[in-house]
Amino acid sequence: MGPDGAPGPSVPWQKVLWERQPFPDNYVDQRFLEELRRNEGIRQYRYWTVVKEAGFVGQQLSCVAIFISLWLYMEQGLLSPETLLWSSLVCALLGYGLYQSLSSQVESGCEPRTRLADLQSAAIFLSFTFGFSPVLKTLTESVSTDTVYAMSAIMLLAHLVSFPYTHPSPPGSLSLNAALFASVCLASRLPGALHTFAMLSCALMVFALWPCLLQRVRDIAPTHFTGVCLGVCVGGVGGLGLQSPGGAVLLALALGSVTLLCPLLLVRLQRHKDNIQGPWDEAEIHEDLDHGRGT
């Protein structure tokens, strides 16, 4: 069926409502849908940049792997808590020094925390962990081992999912809490209170402090960043490999798919994108309109 009434071709149809035009209401002009645009402002990814970005995910994954392998070592008594404590202490000091040096190079935004504050919070960590470790030790003994494993697995997964990969420097509370919860669960399975203490402090380092440092590295020295990521991944695979080769293979596969395969898919699928835009689209606000909310 055609639009009823004969269109008066004398005057050109124009897309305005404020004047009655000699056309029926359901008249369809050839200019209909001329403002329709497809796929505008679509960005073409380059493979290696994407891979570089995905590196962070990979290293976080392998961080978890490292933590688990450490736990495995301790559970089988291959690793004594003292050594773990000392080594983690050394790592912490090194990391702290590196952190300070990096921050001293670039003076970012708000004033840096004083050494005193850092010392204070470190003291709090250690004291609390030490104080609570006997309690934590007895905490889950009546709970069956499978339950504990399941819980910690879920929590670690939650940690990986909810980890803020873009700005990890203040660690996202949910992800950090999940990781800590998991580590408490695991640590309470260890033979002694000291083990628990060591495990927890190690967890603190791996999950809380390390991402901050890595963020700094990514900001300051992107070239080193990829190297660090690679190193962590290799370390994770290796560490797990000594314990359980199967796990190591799985981890390697996972890392490969995350860092290499997914970016490939992303870049490939990009060209099949078909996105319709037009004047009807809801305009999005680009400026940062945060008027210091919650001040």
Partner: protein
């Protein structure tokens, strides 16, 4: 408007005479109260009515004449008409009945003798303003709209036909049936209306600020308040003889009178005792804090004060004003009597072949048994109850704690075991004050005997509450949220590392300890619940006895009209007369709108509310 004549049924067959009653202003309706028979001396009648008016406060007047000519007696039209000049009235009713005819004939003479004086039609033809519901403001009652619409549907037949003043009901009906009557006869049973406290006669005059009560209400008040009119009877010899409900037998009985007389000194005595008792209660010592707190908790004391209140209301010197007050008083009295009676029964059972000792001997072992059960329960909890994973350390701690309590408890019981019998014996005496006392005493005893359970419950609940509170706030921290007190909502907030760390640590600990405390809480709550249920049943029964409207029930069953609520009309044919003079013919007569009038009792719950 229509003239309504409320006519007492008992006067249906009274001899001819004068109608004494009242014109109800505003509604133009007349209430006939009594018939004063011939012969009378008008002066006396007037004087009599004057004094009645003075006594009852109802503006009585002579409404008109009533004629029921005996056989052979010829109608006395002219005479009746003349009477209207003797008793000057705005309007003068002439109601007459032929023997054997079932209808009434009513003539209305206005002051000016013109029988056709038109009932000035008081109906103004108002223009109907259409209420326009607008979009903005709320058009809540669309019934208006509906109504308008419907009125479109109905065709216009609202013409007023010529107001005819005189109305011979039956004859007119037979001749021109379609013509509408202007007089409605409402027969009412004077006795029932008289005795029904249908309408609180707000002591004497209705206060002016409320709008005048509705028509029926006024009628009822008139009848109820013109009691003195009914003392003069047809049978006693006096200058005047009248007919009204009392000519069908008196309602009041001698015993009631005697009781009324006797109750006065009794009330005085009770009130004196009460004053003494209240004086005792108000001694300083009792108003000290712990005592007052205790008395507010002990249900015996509560019951005591309750009863005192009752007795005070009962023994108040002034008579009950209004229906509800009267009902309340009588209900209290009846329930009190019943209560005492039951209490005496209980006593007679207790002190026969000493049931008390048996009770006492069963009581202590029972307490022991309960304690043992509890111990076993705790042992069970300290193991792995129902295969639940509990934290062993905490479990042990809690278990020991509660076990120690039970130990204390048992020793306490054994300490007081020798005195229990005595306690029971004296407690039993309290039943003579009424069953309710015994019951409340029992509930108090139960409360004391299960004090340990109460303690357990409190500890468990407190622990659990703390734990839940902590967990909820820590869970918020876990998700990186916090409760904003000012805005009363959950905001997102960035915590420091150490806060997060410690929070998570505590969260984990609490979470793993939760099942243990939850279990303890659950178990002891259930125990507590059992006790509370038992006490609740006791209190329920006490309250039932205290406030069950027995009197109202009784009235509802035997004298339902005394609680008259909504009046109930129903059309009757004149079968009354038919039965009496066995006229077969009249059965086939058309029914006229004579309405006999009796009362229907109201729902029971109204009485319950009253109490």
């Amino acid at each position: 408007m229509v003239l309504k004549i409320f006519f007492p049924q008992c006067c249906n067959r009274a001899d001819s005479g004068l109608l004494v009653g009242r014109w109800i202003s505003g509604h133009d309706s007349a209430v006939v109260l009594a018939v004063i028979h011939y012969p009378f001396i008008p002066g006396q009648v007037k004087q009599y009515i004057q004094q009645m008016q003075a006594q009852s406060g109802v503006e009585l007047s002579v409404l008109g004449s009533w004629s029921l000519p005996k056989e052979g007696q010829e109608g006395m039209e002219s005479f009746l008409r003349d009477l209207s000049t003797i008793f000057p009235q705005e309007r003068w009713l002439q109601i007459k009945r032929q023997m054997g005819k079932t209808g009434f004939t009513c003539e209305i003479l206005n002051r000016d003798q013109s029988g056709k004086a038109a009932q000035q039609d008081s109906i103004k033809k108002k223009k109907k303003v259409k209420i326009e519901e607008d979009y903005q403001h709320d058009d809540s009652d669309n019934k208006k709209q509906q109504e308008k619409k419907k009125e479109k549907i109905e065709e216009d037949d609202q013409h007023d036909d010529s107001d005819n003043k005189k109305k011979q009901e039956k004859k007119k009906e037979e001749e021109e049936g379609e013509e509408e009557e202007k007089v409605i006869f409402v027969h009412y049973e004077q006795r029932k209306v008289m005795l029904s406290q249908l309408h609180p006669i707000e002591n004497g005059v209705p206060d002016p600020k409320t709008e005048p009560p509705s028509e029926l209400r006024q009628v009822f008040q008139t009848v109820a308040r013109s009691q003195p009119l009914f003392f003069l009877d047809r049978y006693d010899d006096g200058p005047l003889k009248s007919t009204h409900w009392q000519s069908e037998g008196r309602e009041a009985s001698i015993i009631m009178e005697l009781l009324k007389q006797a109750s006065v000194p009794l009330c005085l005595l009770i009130s004196w005792l009460l004053s003494v008792w209240t004086w005792i209660c108000n001694v300083r010592i009792f108003s000290l804090y712990p005592l007052r707190f205790l008395s507010s908790k002990l249900s015996t004391c509560v019951q005591l004060s309750y009863r005192t209140e009752h007795l005070r209301t009962l023994s108040s010197a002034k008579p009950a004003t209004g229906h509800t007050e009267f009902m309340r008083k009588s209900n209290i009295l009846v329930s009190f009597l019943i209560d005492v009676a039951l209490g005496l029964l209980l006593i007679s059972w207790l002190y026969r072949d000493d049931h008390i000792r048996m009770l006492a001997n069963t009581l202590v072992p029972a307490a022991d048994h309960v304690a043992k059960e509890l111990e076993e329960l705790l042992q069970w909890l300290m193991g792995a109850p129902a295969g639940l994973k509990m934290n062993r350390a905490l479990d042990q701690v809690l278990g020991r704690f509660f076990l120690y309590h039970i130990h204390l408890w048992i020793s306490y019981i054994h300490l007081m075991s020798p005195f229990i019998e005595g306690i029971l014996w004296y407690g039993g005496l309290s039943a003579c004050l009424g069953l309710t006392f015994a019951l409340s005493l029992l509930s108090d005893m139960v409360a004391l005997l299960t004090f340990h359970i109460y303690c357990f419950y409190v500890y468990g609940a407190r622990l659990y509450c703390l734990k839940i509170y902590g967990l909820s706030s820590l869970w918020r921290l876990f998700r990186g949220k916090k409760w904003n007190v000012l805005r009363q909502r959950v905001d997102s907030c960035s915590y420091d590392l150490d806060q997060l760390f410690i929070g998570t640590l505590l969260f984990t600990i609490l979470l793993f300890l939760l099942p243990t405390t939850a279990l303890y809480y659950l178990v002891f709550t259930l125990l507590r619940l059992g006790v509370v249920l038992f006490q609740g049943i006791l209190h329920l029964s006490v309250d039932f006895i205290n406030s069950f409207p027995l009197f109202a029930m009784g009235l509802r069953i035997c004298r339902s009209y005394r609680l008259g609520g909504i009046s109930h009309f129903h059309i009757v044919h004149h079968t009354i007369f038919v039965q009496q003079m066995s006229f077969k013919v009249t059965l086939k007569q058309r029914r006229s709108s004579t309405i006999s009038f009796c009362l229907q009792c109201i729902k029971l719950h109204r009485e319950v509310n009253v109490l």
